[in-house]
Symmetry: D2
Subunit: 284 residues, 4 copies
Amino acid sequence: MRRIGIAVNQNKPSALDVTKQLVSLLEAKDAKVLVDSKVADQIGRSDLALDVDKFPDQVDLVFVLGGDGTLLGVARQLAVYDLPILGINLGHLGFLSEAEPEDLPSAVDRVLRGDYHLEKRMMIDASIIRNGQTIHRNIALNDIGIAKGSFGRMVTLSVYVDDMYVDKYSGDGLIISTPTGSTAYSLSCGGPIVSPHINVMVVTPICPHTLTSRPFIVQKDQVIRVEVSATHNDIGITIDGQVGYKGEVNDTIIVRKSPHYTTLIKWQERGFFDVLRQKLHNPN
Amino acid sequence: MRRIGIAVNQNKPSALDVTKQLVSLLEAKDAKVLVDSKVADQIGRSDLALDVDKFPDQVDLVFVLGGDGTLLGVARQLAVYDLPILGINLGHLGFLSEAEPEDLPSAVDRVLRGDYHLEKRMMIDASIIRNGQTIHRNIALNDIGIAKGSFGRMVTLSVYVDDMYVDKYSGDGLIISTPTGSTAYSLSCGGPIVSPHINVMVVTPICPHTLTSRPFIVQKDQVIRVEVSATHNDIGITIDGQVGYKGEVNDTIIVRKSPHYTTLIKWQERGFFDVLRQKLHNPN
Amino acid sequence: MRRIGIAVNQNKPSALDVTKQLVSLLEAKDAKVLVDSKVADQIGRSDLALDVDKFPDQVDLVFVLGGDGTLLGVARQLAVYDLPILGINLGHLGFLSEAEPEDLPSAVDRVLRGDYHLEKRMMIDASIIRNGQTIHRNIALNDIGIAKGSFGRMVTLSVYVDDMYVDKYSGDGLIISTPTGSTAYSLSCGGPIVSPHINVMVVTPICPHTLTSRPFIVQKDQVIRVEVSATHNDIGITIDGQVGYKGEVNDTIIVRKSPHYTTLIKWQERGFFDVLRQKLHNPN
Amino acid sequence: MRRIGIAVNQNKPSALDVTKQLVSLLEAKDAKVLVDSKVADQIGRSDLALDVDKFPDQVDLVFVLGGDGTLLGVARQLAVYDLPILGINLGHLGFLSEAEPEDLPSAVDRVLRGDYHLEKRMMIDASIIRNGQTIHRNIALNDIGIAKGSFGRMVTLSVYVDDMYVDKYSGDGLIISTPTGSTAYSLSCGGPIVSPHINVMVVTPICPHTLTSRPFIVQKDQVIRVEVSATHNDIGITIDGQVGYKGEVNDTIIVRKSPHYTTLIKWQERGFFDVLRQKLHNPN
């Protein structure tokens, strides 16, 4: 019997309705269902409640109801457990979600029949080091940003790849992105598009003061080291644009490929370029 | 007798030495000199001390010792008084300073002989309106920024020019720049270069999420209105990158040409494009 | 009695049908109609035939049936005569056309009632000088391009504004654009958007080899001089992307505001930003 | 005994002098030397003359005296023979040359002692197919461009990667670049920087009319297919910007990784990022 966890972004207007429908569909097919505790009560099924961070012990795969942002959060939370994730899109067209609410019946069918493709997405790992101590460590599916705050003046970031000095970047900061993240914030900063299966990292300067600064590609097994200097401490380090740490002058941030992957459930027939085209041609 | 005020950025290493030298040169030529109170004591001339905000009553023109940043601050402080300003550059090559410390003797000569050219630089005025009330108002020589903080997610800014709807800009924010500011932060964000004598404003999106967003030019007598929406309150409004106000969702920012100008003292023979070329060809 | 000329792009599939319909509508309202000789025969109305270049003597205003490209050609042809032009769009949404074929009856009504607004669009004038002789001279509504051919290596263009040296631009070339042209090729090269009523020129480098090269704005009464150097003669000078002249090393191109304007017929209520938004949000 | 070929760009002013010096240095160390026939006579050593395309039979490695352009040409000519190449830079700082003329004695020493590092640079192969026939085929070390001429209007290129449809690109064209070429023309068009050891291709749109078009990365073992459409035949296909073929509407261009590599002689201690930094910080 398949054991399915359901993680939900309650802020989406249709969240509860879609959750209820999904539970019904899955139970009708004899799947064992567990629902994010924050939502289980609200749909009158507290019998199914389980915190998302307990999913790894009790479920085989996870439906995520929300947008790309919701899926990013669940992906980080479950990164070490290698649970397949299927995104059901409750918002705008996303890059990570594979189904729309109106496809739920067929999505449930395919998942329970095993009629899907698993796509491994590279993740990256950031350590923030202060005075020789690692003070924060986290994993990202999209990107790691090192940037000044809105009142801060320029930051200057010295970047090394495998201990080779690359350059100093002065400006708003830098974004270090996975292939998955290449179509997110990095793209807005002028970074190139990277298909999910190409395991490289992209380092993209954010509004660089030095006009010759350009995005560059780093091989997956290389280690990126960033040293922060600035005349102020209004510096933020962000994980997928969702988790933030206050940075300080002289902090070092080490970014490398994580040993963990996010495993996305994909219907074989829908490709990266098709989604990309839809997003780019409908830019609102 | 010419009455000269001296404003100084004390943080520059050579600030006190250059101030002393300038006072000597001016007094040797019988000019009446007044010195920023914060510095007068330190050079042993408390007899000359005057706060910069009192300069307008007692001086005819102002020497600013520092970098472009120092001059921006003095320019805003003195904006309504139309005092000519001569920048003496204590840092990297700047766009606003006209002389280097080694040129002091000849600069003093020329100023006292009236052998210079006055260049009027357009300024812009920002009002921040919350719940129908103007809660802040300030004037900028370079630019007015409306941007998310380093932990904030996207902001969405609806822009109107003379009450005509232009577009929604989602991303890191917008920068509204004078010609003087067109070579500062706006340039890093992809904005065009505008010579100081062309009285237009430039609206430049900062890392726009909508990839079709582009910088645009607004005529000097047009009024720009920006309405803020976001899912958070990590929004900053900055004046010349130096003064910051916390913004909130539903704030309106009105930007228009100020009736005031910054009047820069320029030696006729050195032009905007010469400085621009030097800066662009030596990008560090 | 209003005398109306009709210029037509025969290559558009609906060109003849729309011309016929327009002639009927105009004649039904007692307007005197003349039709581009190339088309008059084809619609069986050789009695109305007149070459477009003879329109100025015999008509008061001109309907242009085609796309923005057709209108550009007619605008250049009639530039010195100041005849109002109404664009009827037979292709994709354009910036210059004001009506769609389905609006013809109401467009005819408004035009004959005089219920419209005239919008003057700045034009620019290019002279190509070789060995001290002006060998070509033409006028553009959109832009003047100076660029290498597809097999040519880099060109280097030295640019002067009012005889002040701006910089050398090495790369594919330069585009000098009017406000009207700012949303055409210049935009693809990274130039800013300029509303039609702001009389400036935009100089935009095309794929510059020098990464610090940036677009810049030139005042309407300034004169731009471009001097060509290259190691080859595969250089083209284009007018609105439609007329081309072979350039040579050591050619000088002088660009300045033309005394002539293109006068567009506009319904008051449709603005530049509305069209811009539609174009940018539907990028195909 | 080492057998050394010398290829020379005669157009560089110091070409003959440096060739003579190099021959002397090599012969003094008992190397067997052969010199590009076009130059051997001019330095009075017709005894050493050999056409470059015969080098593979008679030499073990090749010195190239010239700039990056010269080296590109030799690299293509010798691509199938896998001969190590040492670039001696007679022009501006290049990415491909490893020594300056003043380093000749030590360069000769190191080469003859075998004290160097071989760096394999990925090449790409282009086939131009017309009416089902491959009409041209060539190999590139930097890039393959498909672009309109200077008088041509837009071209539209449909791009497929491994038979997956990516998108239509309308504008000036596309450039498909190796890592080596990522710092050449592709960079001017907005492409990212790729270190030489990362075996990917970069597809960069040239001045795209569709403003959402962005550079993208393709894995080394993927096949890129480009189908040309346009309303004209002013289309050029270029190899390293040096060899050109006239393209036509309905041509198909297939680009894939070549089985051949260019093998560069590198002193271990000088890295890609060091050269990159020097080039970017001195943009003239």
